[in-house]
């Protein structure tokens, strides 16, 4: 299968120039999108759909930090195994419990929920920078994988906060 970074002519690094990625994505789609082949024979239409599908998936993965980190780790032989490997540090497990309790206690309080969401986002940004260092600068794949697992938990929690806010909003 075509490698995502080379598809867009980008260096295989965690730090991605998003503007360049978007430009390259559009250039690739401009060549392969099925709309360009709607009047062409079936074989070409099929190949166009496969390429356009690949370009969309590659763009989605590289555009978003967590899927991008997981992809890079997989390329380097580390399976994040997010679903099964939950052996996180006791400190982080404690933190998880605290966060959960805060969310549950604030279900009716939009301001508190928003504050929690902001705090999480800020922590995530700091951790993503750690991921970048662990992938691009002083490679430590296990540390990167551990960070990614934590970030995945935090992202999920943030979605729960968003859902709770939507619930509040629609009442």
């Amino acid at each position: 299968m075509q490698e995502y970074y080379s598809l867009f002519g980008l260096p295989e690094r965690f730090a991605v120039d998003v503007a360049k990625l978007d430009t390259a994505y559009r250039q690739v789609q401009a060549q392969v999108h099925p709309d360009k082949f709607a009047h062409r024979p079936e074989t070409e239409r099929r190949i166009a759909m496969q390429w356009a599908t690949l370009a969309n998936e590659a763009h989605r993965v590289l555009r978003n930090p967590l899927p991008r980190a997981r992809y890079l780790l997989e390329r380097r032989g580390v399976d994040v195994e997010a679903e099964r490997n939950t052996s996180m540090s006791p400190a982080f497990l404690m933190q998880q419990i605290e966060w959960r309790e805060s969310v549950d206690d604030s279900r009716e309080d939009a301001e508190a929920l928003q504050r929690l969401g902001k705090d999480l986002e800020r922590d995530e940004r700091v951790m993503l920078d750690d991921v970048r260092r662990a992938l691009d600068e002083e490679p430590d794949l296990q540390a990167a994988a551990e960070l990614v697992r934590r970030l995945m938990f935090m992202e999920k929690l943030r979605h729960e906060i968003d859902d709770a806010l939507i619930q509040l909003d629609s009442h």
Partner: protein, 622 residues
Amino acid sequence: MVLLQLSEPGESPDPHQHRLAVGIDLGTTNSLVATLRHAVPECLPDVDGRVLLPSVVRYHRDASTAVGVDALAAQVADPRNTVASVKRLMGRGLADADAGMRARYDLVDAGGMVRINTVAGLRTPVEVSSEILQVLRQRAEDTLGGEVEGAVITVPAYFDDAQRQATKDAARLAGLNVLRLLNEPTAAAIAYGLDKSAEGIYAVFDLGGGTFDFSVLQLSRGVFEVKATSGDSALGGDDFDEALSNYLQEKARGADLDCGSARALLVEARRVKEALTSHDSVAAEVPMAADGTRQIMVTAEEFHHLTQPLIERTLQPVKKALRDAGLKPSDIQAVVLVGGATRMPHLRRAVEAFFGRPPFIDIDPDKVVAIGAAIQANVLVGNRQEGEDWLLLDVIPLSLGLETMGGLTEKVIPRNSTIPIAKAQDFTTFKDGQTAMAIHVVQGERELVQDCRSLARFELRGIPPMPAGGARIRVTFQVDADGLLSVSAREQTTGVEASIAVKPSYGLSDEEITQMLQAGYQHASTDMHLRALREQCVDAERLLEATRQALNEDAHLLNAAELAHVEQNMTALQALVQSADTAAIKAGVDALSAATGEFAARRMDQAIRKALTGNRVDNLPI
């Protein structure tokens, strides 16, 4: 109306090469056909100069039909056999039909898609829609003086897979070659965006006769990128008519209306609704069962109050799409209004209040979708010209999921993913020697399967017998650029392709479509075999032409042996085209397709490489 000039004088294509392509807006209330003439998009009128074709079909006892204005005029006299708003039934079961549709027609549960019992027999919504499409196709061919080579048909962005498939089936039944199903708000954005060379984030608020769509798009240098879409495929102007009609009936304290006068009241409610757009109060003539009519005054204020809940219902999907796109109302540069129902003043005020700016209304909200579809059809059919290189990136409106243990859904493809998209999922067997497996695909956002739309049940057969848990079946869900799902499966350890039997939950099977096609040919006394032969020959000629063109450009990508192989297959197909043997020509087409597969892949590779090289050169620091 000169919407946009796409080609400079002298740049227009060779008339012999210009292919006829149309855009069709298959609406709940009205349908339109548009095309590009002399590089200007225009909606085609009928012989009486009318552009809108009422989406109404009347069935007669002898199975002949009247479509459009004539049918519309007959709906009070012959309500049961005169089908309006059939779009609300596309890809839907009896249980999905709203109370209004159930009261108006004799709907029959045939398992899967609902049927309408008419004097001419049972009709599927697909057949009714195909009657409308045939009239539009005929109108286009009469006006343009040639056969339409391809059509872009618009669908509500929020249509699910079953509704899209039903629309595509209706087009096929009407003898149309569907180039693409295009989302209605996206079509409107094309018409607007190309007209105004717009840049930035736009929203399209599209309230039609029976469906509501809201889409957020980013327009930048010829790229139309849909960021998020949402809507309600059972909310439209019809519901405002219905609400007003119920209100009038209540006020008149009339006895139960019979079918004919109920329809007459609905027609009157629509008239009053439309009149209230420009008047503060309107006198409604309510038909009474016993004696003539009774006059009831309706004020704009009453009507607005009465329908406020419907207006509020439109704002929920708006909020959802903005959330999905990560945007605030103030981030939207302009809101485009589409659909006849957006003429209602209280709706416009609500949209303006929400976004804090007056909406765009400068292209006729009835025509803008068909015009956008015509522009897209012209490009897709191959009439592309220099400078017309825009790109459209659309999304899937509803998440696709699978049924798992305990009636829960597992999301496979999340909503608002850019299409085409594919996801692979691995399954295993749970019994020794198990050779078959069932997969239930649903569409929707809810956690329980019963709260989502059932799309289809796939049965995988031909799994090689292995111990329990030994087989690893990779099932690939592919959504194409029309937003339509297809499924393929392969056992990973043996590489055996599992065969898939699809049972669409609300669709028609291939056999049913074929039967309807045959019935249609009998009715029109056309020879199906002759038609099939002609279509096959056209196919073959096109493939030969496309291959010649590809060789002209890129023969260097093939070595001598490969080139000889392609040319050999071309010569063979060329000879077969004369043979009048449909099956043999098809075999020849398949052979040449197979022989050129690798060539096509290399050409694509080369195109991408060239495009990206250009990028790097552009970005070199000077």
